[in-house]
């Protein structure tokens, strides 16, 4: 059989091999994994992370460049395999993929960041970036909610941000005996702030239902659709717009998102599920 020369194209499905360098325990089910700083990325982008033998999943990058940190919640087969990784273990990484947060559009603006649960992960790199060049931005609000105090991620960061030039508000749905902070879903934080839509952009990431109510609260404050930016989660098998899984209407979360102006997806009925 005659063989024809192979196409001279890069294989986008082949992960690069990288070693886990550090592991930080966030909660009972969530860990942050650090890798070598060889990746250029934008805050809000994601990678496809493989544990060979278990499979591959999309994971958002939780650090600002040049650091590469991935924060993973064990919820399925692959993420459980990730959870069990040890320092020195080899994983596969493809990416970075997706568009990331609209960082240029944030300059000179009042910024409202709203995170729910592990949804703070893709926002953390953005906060780090804003704090590292703080003078380029006006007011910074960070509203973060988790189910219980033990579900709060990035506790050290929250501690640091509370001392940084930012307005940090943290709440939990259900308190425990040690909790002295706010209790209630994340939208109950809005009345405690002086957020106005003037010169503002809100950036949200969390469970669909949480984002739906945050959008509602923002609209009650007279935010326009185009002042609201969301980062979406969907099933993905390729990360590069081929496998079909992550569509929201005609958009693919992997290559058109994961960050969308709320205006882009507001009229698609399945948007915030």
């Amino acid at each position: 059989m005659e063989m024809e020369s192979s196409l001279e194209i890069e294989n986008p499905y082949l992960p690069r091999l990288m070693k886990v360098q550090k592991i930080r325990v966030e909660t009972e089910n969530i860990k942050t994994f650090e890798f070598e700083k060889t990746f250029g990325h934008l805050p809000g982008q994601f990678v496809e992370l493989s544990v060979f033998g278990a499979g591959e999943v999309p994971i958002s990058i939780s650090s600002a460049p040049p650091n590469l940190e991935l924060t993973v919640n064990r919820v399925g087969i692959v993420t459980n395999a990730i959870y069990d990784l040890e320092v020195g273990d080899v994983v596969g990484i493809r990416g970075p993929y997706g568009n990331g947060w609209p960082t240029d559009a944030l300059r000179g603006k009042n910024i409202v960041i709203v995170g729910g649960g592990i949804g703070l992960a893709p926002l953390r790199g953005l906060v780090q970036m804003i704090l590292s060049e703080r003078k380029n931005y006006e007011k910074l609000y960070i509203l973060y909610g988790a189910r219980t105090p033990s579900d709060l991620v990035f506790k050290q960061d929250l501690e640091n941000w509370s001392k940084a030039p930012a307005n940090l508000f943290v709440t939990v749905d259900r308190a425990d005996e040690h909790w002295k902070g706010n209790v209630g879903v994340v939208t109950t934080l809005f009345p405690k702030t002086d957020i106005t839509p003037e010169n503002a952009i809100a950036l949200i990431c969390g469970p669909g239902i949480m984002m739906k109510f945050v959008v509602k609260s923002l609209k009650a404050l007279n935010f326009e659709d185009n002042q609201i930016v969301v980062s979406m989660e969907r099933v993905m098998k390729c990360g590069i717009g081929k496998c079909g899984h992550c569509n929201i209407g005609a958009k693919y979360v992997c290559i058109d998102g994961p960050v969308f102006n709320y205006k882009e997806i507001a009229n698609i009925p399945t948007e915030l599920k």
Binding site: N11, G92, R234, G244, K273
Partner: protein
């Protein structure tokens, strides 16, 4: 006009097989027609039961092998054998033109594109469409103007031969002893006109779908759908795939295989939330993807009018009826 006598087809096949892996329609004992490189060639068929898309996007394939150990190894498995597909119908050729759009773009898919590059297509125009064929409404048939290297037209005991690409012309030139030249009048006199009887109303379909997201029509029409996925598996333009790892000790492979938007697991996230939790959501996704989303993204409907989904549906769901009926009220 160049012609190929039907009696010479199997001799031509034998000749081509010396240089290429040749796939052609075959019929099994149950009458199912599919493309294969073994068995007897079948040319008296309207269309294959199974589309030839699996020759480009196999139902399962290994994308790479991995080997753990002191030195970690990844070995990609890209297919590079020269092939010919003989007997592909115009609708299925058009499905490949649509799949090309998906698998190229900013990220190139080497598995699909390598197969496309190494495969020549010898299509056969349709002269006897089936009752579910509606290709003429999608302008993908019954005759082919682009997408194949060679197009044959059935003229009784011979085929007229048309070359559409340089590659097709070379192929005919290299095998010239199987082909003959005859006068044009003879060809025209014998040409039969294909009759498409099924219809689909595509007028303002994008607008009609846009207005129908909340329509109770979808509850009604999705009620009998079994979510069996046969429509998507037999669809020559459906391309969704899953990827899973298989491994034993230190060795394993990543496999990609067809997936279907008809399955709940297709969109269910690991945390348990499913944006398309009901069969109504999933049927809507299929129709919207084919007649709106794909068009928004790539500028074509993701349907070539082959009618396989209509023919194979166990509960007689008919996408031509849905598309023709759906209204924004």
């Amino acid at each position: 006009m160049t012609i190929l006598k039907k009696q010479n087809v199997s001799k031509l096949l034998d000749e081509l097989r010396r240089e290429y892996k040749v796939f052609y329609p075959t019929r099994d004992e149950e009458g199912v027609i599919s493309f294969s490189n073994v068995g007897d060639v079948v040319l008296d068929y309207s269309n294959s039961t199974v589309p030839p898309k699996d020759l480009f996007l196999p139902q399962t394939e290994t994308t790479f092998e991995f080997e753990k150990g002191a030195e970690f190894k990844l070995r990609p498995k890209v297919h590079i054998v020269k092939r010919i597909v003989l007997g592909i119908r115009p609708c299925d050729v058009h499905s490949l033109i649509l799949l090309d759009k998906v698998f190229s773009g900013d990220f190139l898919d080497p598995y699909y594109l390598q197969r496309r590059k190494n495969t020549s297509l010898i299509a056969i125009n349709c002269t006897e469409p089936e009752k579910n064929c509606f290709c003429s409404f999608l302008e993908t048939g019954p005759s082919l103007k682009e997408g194949a290297d060679i197009v044959l037209t059935d003229l009784g005991d011979l085929y007229s031969v048309e070359t559409l690409t340089e590659k097709g012309k070379e192929l005919v030139d290299n095998k010239s002893r199987f082909f003959e030249e005859v006068s044009l009048e003879q060809e025209i006199a014998r040409k039969r006109k294909a009759e498409i009887t099924k219809t689909i109303d595509l007028k303002e379909i994008a607008e009609r779908l846009e207005k129908s997201f909340e329509s109770p029509y979808w509850d009604k029409v999705s009620k009998k759908c079994l979510n069996c996925a046969i429509c998507t598996y037999l669809c020559p333009t459906c391309y969704c795939f899953d990827a899973v790892d298989e491994s034993l000790d230190f060795k394993g492979q990543r496999i990609r295989c067809w997936d279907s938007c008809m399955f709940p697991s297709y969109s269910r996230m690991a945390g348990g939330i499913n944006p398309r939790a009901t069969k109504k959501d999933r049927l809507m996704q299929r129709v919207y993807h084919k007649f709106k989303y794909f068009d928004d993204r790539y500028g074509n409907f993701a349907c070539v009018g082959c009618g396989r989904c209509v023919a194979a549906c166990p509960v007689n769901l008919d996408i031509t009826k849905i598309v023709s009926e759906v209204r924004g009220d």
